[in-house]
C-alpha cells in the first residue's frame, strides 16, 4: 500500500516538474535555473547519501568525481573520441559516469580496505586534492588552470538542461531506492551498523563498500557531465572545488541522511536558500548559509525529515 502511494506521488511530482517548461520561459526565469540546480545537487547528494547515509563511509572526495565527469565529457568532445554527436549524447554522458567509477575502484581498493571512519574521510579529501593538482598541472590535455573551452555555439535553450537534470535526479533517486531495497542494500546497512558482525555473517565488506563508493562516483560523474554542457568552459576552479562535496553533504544532512527523500528535500531547501540570499543579500549569502548550517545541526541533528517525523508522531 505504502509503496503504491509513494510511486503515484513520485510519478505525479515528476510530471509536475516535467511540464514546468511549457508554462514558464526557462531561458529567462531564475526559478527554472533554481530547479535545474536543485536537480543537479539531488543527483550528487543521492550518490553521497548512498555512500555515507546507507553504508556509513563518509567521502569528502565527491568533487573529484564530479570534476572528472565534467572533464571526461570535455575531453571526449574535444578529441572527437566516440564520434556520437557529443552534445547531450548518452554515450558521452555514460562514459563520463564510468571514468569516475574507475577512479573510485582504483582508490577505493587501498583506501577502503585500510581506512575507517574519519581516516577514510581525510583520505578521500587527499585524493580530491591530488586529482585537482593533476588537472591544474595537466598541460594542454586538460588546459591547465584555464581549462577547456567547448563549442559554445551549441547552446540554444535551457530546456534540454532542465529535462536532463530532472531525468538524472529521478534516475539517481531510483537507483538508490532500488539498491537499498535489494540484498545489496541490506548488506550495506549491515556494514554501517556493525562491520565486524556483517563480516561474520559472510558479507564481503570490501566488495560492498567499493560498490557503494563506485555508485556514488558514477552519479557524481553523470552530474559533472551535465554541468560541463551547461558551463561549456571547464576549469579546475569551477568543477573541482570542494563546494561540490560540501554542498551535497550539507543537503543530505539538512534533509535527513540515510533516507530516500532526505537528499531531495535538502537539495531543494538549500538551493532555495542559497538562491534567495544570493539575490537579496549578495555579500552576506555565505554568512547566512554558514549560520544556517550551524543552527540546523545544533537544533535538528536528524534533519528536516526528522522534524517531519517528530511532528507526525506528535499528532
Amino acid at each position: 500500500m505504502k509503496d503504491k502511494r509513494a510511486i503515484i506521488l513520485t510519478v505525479l511530482g515528476t510530471i509536475a516538474f516535467a511540464v514546468v517548461p511549457f508554462f514558464l520561459d526557462v531561458d529567462t526565469s531564475y526559478f527554472a535555473y533554481f530547479l535545474f540546480l536543485s536537480f543537479c545537487y539531488t543527483v550528487i547528494a543521492q550518490g553521497w547519501n548512498f555512500v555515507a547515509g546507507y553504508t556509513g563511509q563518509i567521502s569528502l572526495g565527491q568533487h573529484a568525481f564530479f570534476g572528472l565527469g565534467a572533464y571526461t565529457t570535455a575531453i571526449i568532445w574535444l578529441h572527437d573520441i566516440t564520434k556520437t554527436g557529443y552534445y547531450f549524447d548518452p554515450v558521452t554522458m555514460m562514459l563520463s559516469g564510468l571514468v569516475p567509477v574507475i577512479l573510485a575502484i582504483l582508490v577505493g581498493i587501498p583506501l577502503l580496505s585500510r581506512l575507517r571512519g574519519d581516516y577514510f574521510a581525510l583520505g578521500t579529501l587527499g585524493v580530491g586534492e591530488i586529482v585537482k593538482v593533476i588537472f591544474v598541472k595537466g598541460g594542454a590535455f586538460t588546459g591547465a588552470s584555464d581549462g577547456l573551452h567547448l563549442p559554445s555555439t551549441m547552446f540554444e535553450s535551457m530546456k534540454p538542461y532542465y529535462w536532463t537534470g530532472l531525468i538524472l535526479a529521478l534516475f539517481a533517486t531510483a537507483v538508490v531506492y532500488l539498491l537499498t531495497r535489494s540484498r545489496i542494500g541490506l548488506a550495506l546497512r549491515a556494514i554501517r551498523e556493525d562491520e565486524m558482525s556483517a563480516a561474520a555473517h559472510g558479507i564481503h565488506i570490501l566488495k560492498y563498500k567499493i560498490f557503494a563508493f563506485a555508485v556514488g562516483a558514477f552519479l557524481a560523474g553523470l552530474c559533472g557531465s551535465l554541468y560541463a554542457y551547461y558551463l561549456l568552459h571547464i576549469n579546475p576552479d569551477a568543477v573541482l572545488k570542494l563546494d561540490w562535496t560540501l554542498y551535497p553533504i550539507l543537503m543530505c544532512v539538512i534533509g535527513g541522511n540515510g533516507t530516500i527523500m532526505g537528499p531531495i528535500i535538502g537539495a531543494f531547501f538549500v538551493t532555495a536558500l542559497f538562491s534567495v540570499s544570493n539575490i537579496y543579500l549578495v555579500q552576506m549569502h555565505p554568512i547566512l548559509s554558514g549560520t544556517l548550517i550551524i543552527l540546523v545541526m545544533k537544533f535538528m541533528p536528524r534533519g528536516l525529515i526528522g522534524l517531519i517525523d517528530t511532528i507526525k508522531s506528535r499528532r
Binding site: L115, E129, V133, L250, P286, I287, I293, P301
Partner: protein, 297 residues
C-alpha cells in the same frame, strides 16, 4: 636546476622547510587536542587562525600595537573564543555518536568566519610590515628571517607549555584521561564538558599563537584558512593523533616535504606530493610516524 644544487642550498631548503612547518605543527597540536577528547575534526581551525591574524593586524594598524606584544591580548581572547565555541556550538554535538554533525558545524563555522572576514577586511591579502619584517640573519651563508625564527621559538615554547600543562596539572591530566577513554574518565568523576571546553580553549589558544606567526610572516587573506587547516590535518596524521610533539614534528616534516618538492618539482606539484605522503602514511602508519609501537597494546 640541478647544476645550482650545492650543500649550502640543501641546508637552506631544509631550514626553510623547518621554519615553514612550525606553523603547521602548532595548528596541528590544537587540532590534536580537540580531536583527542571530542573525536571532532575541527575543520575551522585554519580559518580561526586567519581570523586571529586579522585581530593582530587590526591591533597593529589601528592602535600601533607591536605584533609580538599583542600576544598578551590575542592569546586570552583566543582562549575565551575556544571555550565559547565549545559551549555555544559543540556542547551537544560532542556527546552524539554521529560525528558528521560536529564536522558540519565546523564547516558552517568556517563558512561563517571566512565570509565575515571577507566583509570586514575584504578579500585582498593583508600583511603586517614592521621594522623587523625584512630582518634576516645570515649565519654561515644561510638566510634565516627573524620573524620565522621567532615563530619557531613560539611554536616550541607553546608545545612545551601545552605538554607541561597536560602532564603536571590536574585538569591537564583529566584532559589526557578523557582522550584515552571518555567513558572511564566520566566514571572517575571527570566532567566531560569541562575537559572538552579546556581542550577547545587550548586548541584555539594555540591558533592565536599561530595567527600571530602567520600575520608576521606571510601576506594572508580570508580563504587561506582552509588550506591551512588541510595542512594542519596532514601534519596531524603524520605525527599521530594525540601526540603533542608528534604533531609539531609532523608539521615540520610537512614543511620539509613542501620545501623540497617545490624546489625539485615545480610549485604546484608540492601540494600533490604532500597529499600523497599523507595518504601513504594514513594507510600504512595510521598511528603516525612518531609513535613508538609499544604504546599501543
Amino acid at each position: 636546476m640541478l647544476e645550482y644544487l650545492s650543500f649550502g642550498l640543501i641546508i637552506q631548503l631544509l631550514v626553510n622547510g623547518i621554519l615553514f612547518g612550525t606553523m603547521y605543527g602548532i595548528a596541528a597540536i590544537g587540532l590534536s587536542l580537540i580531536f583527542g577528547t571530542m573525536r571532532i575534526i575541527f575543520l575551522a581551525q585554519g580559518t580561526t587562525i586567519i581570523f586571529l591574524a586579522y585581530i593582530c593586524y587590526w591591533l597593529f594598524t589601528l592602535f600601533g600595537v607591536d605584533p609580538y606584544l599583542s600576544l598578551i591580548l590575542v592569546v586570552p581572547i583566543s582562549l575565551l573564543l575556544g571555550a565559547g565555541f565549545y559551549h555555544a556550538l559543540f556542547k551537544e554535538a560532542a556527546a552524539l555518536e554521529d560525528k558528521n554533525i560536529s564536522l558540519l558545524i565546523a564547516v558552517g563555522l568556517m563558512f561563517l568566519v571566512e565570509n565575515l572576514m571577507t566583509v570586514i577586511w575584504t578579500a585582498n591579502p593583508r600583511s603586517i610590515l614592521t621594522t623587523y619584517t625584512s630582518l634576516v640573519f645570515r649565519p654561515m651563508g644561510i638566510n634565516i628571517p627573524f620573524t620565522r625564527l621567532i615563530a619557531l621559538l613560539m611554536a616550541v615554547l607553546s608545545a612545551s607549555g601545552v605538554l607541561l600543562f597536560l602532564k603536571k596539572t590536574l585538569i591537564g591530566m583529566a584532559v589526557r584521561a578523557a582522550s584515552e577513554d571518555m567513558v572511564s574518565a566520566t566514571l572517575v568523576g571527570i566532567s566531560p564538558h569541562r575537559v572538552n571546553a579546556v581542550a577547545f580553549a587550548i586548541g584555539i589558544g594555540l591558533a592565536g599563537i599561530a595567527g600571530i606567526g602567520v600575520a608576521t610572516i606571510y601576506p594572508f587573506d580570508p580563504v587561506y584558512g582552509f588550506i591551512f587547516a588541510l595542512k594542519a590535518l596532514i601534519s596531524l596524521a603524520l605525527g599521530g593523533i594525540g601526540n603533542v610533539y608528534g604533531a609539531l614534528l609532523g608539521g615540520i616534516l610537512l614543511g620539509l616535504i613542501e620545501s623540497l618538492a617545490s624546489f625539485f618539482l615545480s610549485g604546484g606539484w608540492s601540494d600533490a606530493i604532500s597529499y600523497a605522503v599523507f595518504l601513504i602514511v594514513l594507510m600504512f602508519r595510521p598511528e603516525g610516524l612518531f609513535v613508538r609501537a609499544m604504546l599501543k597494546t
